[in-house]
């Protein structure tokens, strides 16, 4: 699993569940039309795609205010630095 796997997985899942193909790395989390269950479904789908569990506290951390930051948190969680 590398940086690209994680980032593209996050983007694909969020675009799919929010039904918004314009979501990009720069998109702010608040601008994505997803409610709490929607984000929980994103987490589950990301876990399924990556084949491993993500600590929900990392995923739902308040510092993840954009898709880019969310990807950054996941990369740090999986200790991927390349």
């Amino acid at each position: 699993m590398n940086r690209s796997d994680i980032c593209s997985c996050v983007l694909d899942v969020v675009r799919d569940i929010s039904e918004d193909s314009t979501v990009s790395y720069e998109t702010e989390i608040d601008d994505i039309e997803l409610d709490s269950i929607g984000w929980m479904r994103c987490l589950v789908a990301i876990e399924e795609k990556l084949g491993c569990a993500v600590d929900p506290a990392v995923f739902f951390s308040g510092i993840n205010d954009s898709i880019e930051k969310l990807c950054g948190s996941l990369l740090q969680y999986f200790n991927i630095t390349d």
Partner: protein
């Protein structure tokens, strides 16, 4: 007959059939953990030894920042077995609030993961659950006064300290579990914060009635549902509404996929739920059973698998009546709450016969319908009474990411009905279209008084002022803010 929670925990001894499940994250994978009731009992006894060695025993006041973990449940149970009194807070409460509660209730110890302790000894649930060879059954204890102090924002939004009685807890949770006919093949998922009294109450109900329990939290809820496959879930209306919205967007069966394979009892309460959501779930083969209770009294009315009527909160499970004004009055043999505390002292005790503040009506078959808060009732010029809470809920469901408040405002000479829709932003939304949708609601069309529909944008900080400490939208707070703001 179980008389006290001490007896309830002792009754778990030797029970290897029932269990408590929870998830742990290990090496990037969820590991389901299972503890039989017998193991739960042994873990409690072990924790009692750790607490005793640290000086905690009968009547010791312990501030406890409880989290939704198995170990916190064990600590909570051990404190009860020892006869200590827990002052329960949420992990997310800020340090000042915790310090204030420690001082107010003269807490001698703190159980928390924080490093702050207000100058008193502080232990983590983790260390209190470490293996102790000296574990032995403590002396039987029945509380004569309050077992716990908990905090509830209620409808006013201001957290109040409530005294929790052991007698009321035992009686009310047993009464609820028996009425619902939960059985030993069931598994109850408890995921809302344990600092919310009803969640601990559900755990005790599981132990006393030999119903399996599973513990999760509001962040790993979907994983708990799919990995632990509970059969009973109590969730707020918002959870079902969000699931409904997700289902609307896709052909996939999101509801079934989210709820796990064994779900048979979806329960909701705590706030009104739109009948449309209830019908939607009913038609998809996933009935939601609406129940009604109050922190002070416990469960009051419940729909069950055998008797469910959409649009009602079910049949009473305790003695109730209605006042001439239509207010629902309870007469519980054992209320859960002894009374409210102020500055660490119990104010006047809670009467057994208690007005709920809710307007209600019972149909010919005894199913009760709640019409809203009595103080919220708006009397139209025609004399017709409307209760705004249900209409506000409908509006909220019509307009995503919004709240709504309906209240009377005095114009230069007459009263008008003001309907305010509140959101962080209406950018990119067609407010005329929203207004049109709201006007088409039957309840709005039936308003005989003049009304206005307004849109109110509040940034994140201001938005937070509309909510109670427990995250519930407070119409009282909202109306105060809306009326005082320059519009």
């Amino acid at each position: 007959m179980i008389e006290c929670l001490y007896d309830a925990f002792v009754s778990a001894s030797g029970n290897t059939e029932n269990y408590v499940d929870y998830l742990e994250l290990e090496n990037f994978a969820y590991k389901p953990r299972r503890k039989t009731f017998d193991q739960v009992y042994r873990d409690i006894i072990n924790c009692c030894a750790n607490l005793s060695e640290r000086g905690i025993g009968t009547d010791t006041v312990v501030a406890f920042e409880i989290e939704n973990t198995y170990k916190c449940l064990i600590c909570d149970s051990a404190l009860i077995m020892l006869g200590a009194r827990a002052v329960i807070s949420r992990k997310n409460d800020n340090a000042d609030v915790l310090d204030q509660r420690i001082a107010e209730f003269s807490a001698e110890y703190l159980i928390s993961d924080r490093k702050v302790s207000g100058g008193i000894p502080c232990f983590t649930a983790e260390e209190l659950c470490e293996k102790n060879e000296n574990g032995k059954l403590p002396e039987r204890h029945i509380y004569n006064d309050d077992m716990s102090i908990m905090f509830s924002s209620g409808t006013t939004g201001i957290p109040k300290a409530l005294g929790i009685t052991e007698k009321g807890s035992v009686w009310s949770s047993n009464n609820f579990f028996r009425f619902m006919k939960f059985n030993s093949g069931d598994k109850f998922l408890i995921f809302m914060p344990l600092s919310n009294y009803q969640q601990r109450f559900l755990f005790w109900g599981c132990i006393m009635n030999k119903v399996n329990a599973s513990i999760g939290n509001d962040m790993n809820l979907l994983q708990c549902l799919t990995h632990l496959e509970p059969s009973i879930l109590l969730a707020p209306p918002n959870f079902f509404y969000n699931l409904y919205c997700q289902q609307q967007k896709t052909e996939k069966d999101v509801i079934r996929a989210s709820l796990g394979k064994n779900m048979r009892y979806l329960l909701t309460g705590m706030a009104p739920i739109d009948n449309e959501i209830l019908w939607f779930f009913h038609e998809s083969g996933n009935d939601i059973y609406q129940i009604y209770g109050q922190t002070e009294v416990g469960m009051i009315c419940c729909n069950t698998v055998d008797e469910n009527r959409i649009g009602t909160v079910g049949k009473p499970i305790i003695d109730i009546c209605f006042s001439d004004e239509g207010e629902l009055i309870t007469n519980s043999p054992a209320p859960i709450v002894s009374g409210y505390y102020e500055n660490g002292r119990l104010l006047s005790p809670m009467p057994f016969r208690r007005p709920t503040g809710d307007m209600g009506i019972a149909d010919e078959d005894g199913f009760v319908c709640i019409k809203g808060r009595i103080n919220d009732t708006i009397v139209l010029r025609s004399g017709k009474k409307i209760n705004p809470a249900m209409i506000e809920n409908k509006i909220k469901n019509l307009v995503s990411d919004s709240e709504a408040a309906i209240y009377k405002t005095k114009d230069s000479s007459s009263f008008n009905i003001n309907i305010t829709i509140i959101s962080e932003s209406f950018d990119g939304r067609n407010t005329d279209e929203i207004r049109d949708k709201v006007c088409r609601l039957r309840e709005i069309q039936e308003l005989t008084d003049p009304y206005t529909i307004e849109f109110y944008e509040a940034d994140k900080t201001e938005m937070s002022r509309f909510y109670t400490e427990n995250g519930k939208f407070s119409r009282k707070k909202a109306i105060d803010i809306l009326c005082s703001s320059e519009r």
